[in-house]
């Protein structure tokens, strides 16, 4: 029989308090007037802790202060690796953040955990989201049919190939591979090796370090008509999932047209730098001849979607949400809305290497500034996502290493996905 372990909770919270956890200092009652005073604490994932990150955050605060000029804002920038640690300790100490900006996959687990609050009660409706963002972004913001977060920036992973590499390999440079089978065959032809057998031109770059083939798997599975979750129900252990995972295994381990886990020192997409003939790439490419720009190489790159059974583009993204227990919920909501300001979205897009999520951003100078952003934005309506239910974070930690087992030939696709399905359903 289960019992609350209240004593442990009290001792743990006392211990954390002794360890010096600071409070938010929020004291004023919630209201929406300009005389509202107090402090809100904002946890932001993936903002660099340097002048660039601080500059973008100051821009957000500036927008926020138009509504709440007297409310102070304290920021906490963390890498995604430390995000859960921050949330976990803040909840344990009873000092939850007022605003949390994290990835799409965090919405439902954090809602279930009681770390973020129902925005419907603060006046944000599903209809509001549908008006401002692409329809595919609405479902990941919901938990039990209520809105718990708003989308801020999309992080698509686009596919690209080099026209010149296609020509050299005897492939038609105007014909992108359509099916996954075509992709595999083209990748084999595009792979170049030296006399020792070492790859000098990767046929297809997954642009993934070890244990991080999740997004690529979701993209391939999506092209085969499958999806990771349907609502909260895991649906990846399907034929589409097995075929997608098997294909990645075949390309990496059998054909060796892609080197497992390989990244260049700058961790940029190999197809963009010319080290690979084809592969996943960022939705932003610098076509200038400045340092970091690829200049004329831009003209050599063609962006495309897989259209096997369904045309898809993998999309991740950033959201913003109000923390549960915030003493200034309306001010926190205003901060969340400040994240959605169009100029702010563009500034965050530079940090996140993404594109704004606002439906009207297609005509913006930012989206039109380079072919990758233009292509990625144009295809947001074809987005397939990686998220799913309360156990998503639990499942996510096991997902990458388990996929690796199959990719490296240490396990079979179907049983591996079946085991992962059990984890997604709440098992270990």
């Amino acid at each position: 029989m289960k019992k609350r372990l209240g004593a442990v909770a009290v001792v743990a919270v006392a211990l954390l308090a002794l360890a010096g956890c600071s409070g938010s200092g929020s004291s004023a009652p919630a209201s929406a007037d300009k005389d509202q005073a107090g402090t809100i604490r904002v946890l932001v994932a993936n903002f660099p802790a340097n002048n660039v990150g601080q500059g973008v955050f100051d821009q957000i605060v500036k927008v926020f202060h138009k509504s709440y000029p007297k409310v102070k804002v304290e920021s906490d920038f963390v890498p995604y690796d430390s995000l859960n640690q921050k949330i976990s300790t803040s909840l344990a100490s009873g000092q939850n953040y007022d605003v949390i900006s994290a990835g799409i996959g965090w919405v439902q687990p954090l809602a279930d955990l009681g770390a973020i609050q129902d925005l419907t009660k603060l006046g944000i409706t599903k209809g509001d989201l549908e008006k401002s963002a692409y329809p595919s972004f609405v479902a990941p913001m919901l938990w039990k049919d209520d809105v718990y977060a708003v989308p801020v920036v999309a992080n698509p992973r686009v596919l690209a190939y080099s026209k010149s590499a296609f020509e050299k390999a005897g492939l038609d440079p105007d014909k992108a591979p359509q099916s996954l089978e075509e992709l595999r065959e083209d990748a084999k032809k595009l792979t170049i090796r030296d006399a020792s057998g070492n790859i000098t031109q990767t046929g297809f770059d997954f642009w993934a370090p070890p244990s991080n083939y999740r997004q690529q798997f979701v993209a391939f599975m999506g092209a085969l008509g499958g999806q990771e979750f349907t609502g909260e129900k895991p649906t990846f252990a399907s034929k589409a999932g097995v075929d997608a995972l098997q294909l990645i295994h075949d390309m990496v381990t059998v054909d060796k047209s892609s080197t497992y886990g390989y990244q260049n020192s700058a961790k940029t997409a190999l197809v963009t730098t010319g080290e690979a003939a084809m592969g996943f790439a960022s939705p932003y490419v610098d076509c200038s001849t400045d340092q970091g720009g690829i200049g004329d190489k831009c003209k050599d790159l063609v962006y495309f979607n897989l259209k096997d059974k369904k045309e898809v583009e993998y999309v991740g993204g950033r959201v913003a949400a109000v923390g549960e227990g915030s003493k200034l919920p309306q001010a926190s909501l205003a901060m969340v809305k400040a994240f959605q300001d169009q100029k702010v979205q563009e500034a965050i897009s530079k940090i996140d290497v993404g594109v704004p999520i606002d439906k009207n951003a297609g005509d913006s100078a930012f989206v039109k500034s380079n072919p990758a952003s233009t292509f990625a934005f144009k295809n947001l309506d074809k987005g397939v996502f990686e998220y799913g239910g309360a156990t998503y974070l639990d499942f996510r930690a096991k997902f990458g290493p388990a996929l690796d087992q199959v990719i490296l030939g240490k396990a079979q696709a179907q049983p591996t996905l079946d085991d992962l399905k059990k984890v997604a359903e709440g098992g270990r």
Partner: protein
């Protein structure tokens, strides 16, 4: 005179001292406690209390500290059915079994070399000790470059001998041994210093006597030096086992437990369960098991010292 007859007057003296100056004895005891209070307070708050809390949490299904229901031993039962945990445990044991003895042997060899009157001895000692005072993250970053599959030093060396490139940290069969190499290198300095101090305490009279008896260098080492290192060996063994079970930063920076869990060790798995999966109760149970394993390993190490005589 027997030991019993010797002990009796000593006991009488102690009784007499206690009777004669109880105030001084109490003052000494009080001073002892006062001096102990800061360390004791620290130990209770930051070691004993968290240990008790971890044991308590391990019996719950808490996702965050303070929010969970009691599930008694369910976490422990599930842990032993968890393939990832079993892999992490085996990886940790393999890491310990290789890094501890190899590290000790290499450190002893280096210490023996640096104990000899060679030119530039102080400089060598400093060089060998540098990894100890360098941050593990910095060390890991340097090794990341060494193991870089495209431009790393390790593959350049292989290429020099005509051997093909290796994915040091991306090949599941090589990644853990690659980390073991760093583990041995990283722990070399601290072990070497301890051995060096112990070697300088070896009785020169015994060494000289052995030499006069016609013993060669190996016989002197095995029959004089090696036995004299006994207590130090045990200290190095215990601290090395505890250290290797706690290897975390190396894995966190270099491999994140990958590829395919090939370098997932207990501490990293605990971290993943606690802060990536938000399963604090489960992670606490894993911590308790790790604690037990460290205890068992140290006990086994102690058994190897049972028959050793101190010289």
């Amino acid at each position: 005179m027997t030991s019993a007859t010797l002990a009796a007057p000593r006991r009488a003296e102690r009784r007499s001292a206690r009777r004669g100056s109880p105030g001084i004895a109490r003052a000494k005891a009080r001073a002892g406690w006062i001096l102990l209070v800061p360390a004791l307070t620290h130990s209770v708050i930051f070691m004993a209390l968290p240990t008790i809390i971890v044991v308590g949490l391990s019996l719950t299904d808490a996702r965050v500290v303070g929010r969970g229901d009691v599930v008694w031993l369910d976490n422990y039962i599930e842990l032993f059915q968890d393939q990832t945990f079993r892999t992490a445990l085996l990886n940790t044991l393999a890491y310990t079994i290789v890094v501890v003895p190899v590290g000790m042997a290499v450190a002893l060899l280096v210490a023996l070399g640096l104990n000899a009157p060679i030119r530039g001895r102080a400089a060598y000692r400093t060089l060998f000790y540098i990894p100890v005072v360098t941050s593990a993250v910095a060390v890991s970053t340097v090794w990341l470059w060494i193991y870089n599959p495209a431009s790393g030093l390790a593959n350049e060396v292989l290429a020099f001998f005509g051997i093909g490139r290796s994915g040091w940290l991306t090949d599941p069969d090589i990644a853990l041994p690659a980390l073991m190499v760093i583990g041995v290198w990283q722990g070399l300095g601290s072990k070497m210093i301890i051995y060096l101090a112990a070697l300088q305490g070896v009785s020169q009279e015994l060494v000289e006597a052995a030499r006069l008896d016609g013993a060669n260098r190996w016989q002197i080492f095995w029959n004089v030096t090696w036995p004299a290192l006994g207590p130090v060996q045990f200290f190095v063994l215990v601290t090395s086992i505890a250290g290797s079970f706690q290897v975390f930063d190396l894995v966190y920076v270099m491999t994140q437990g990958g590829p395919a869990n090939a370098t997932n060790v207990l501490t990293f798995d605990i971290f993943t369960n606690a802060f990536s999966r938000l399963q604090i109760g489960y992670a606490s149970a894993e911590t308790v098991i790790m604690f037990v394993f460290v205890g068992v390993m140290i006990y086994l190490g102690r058994l190897t010292q049972r028959d050793r005589k101190d010289y």
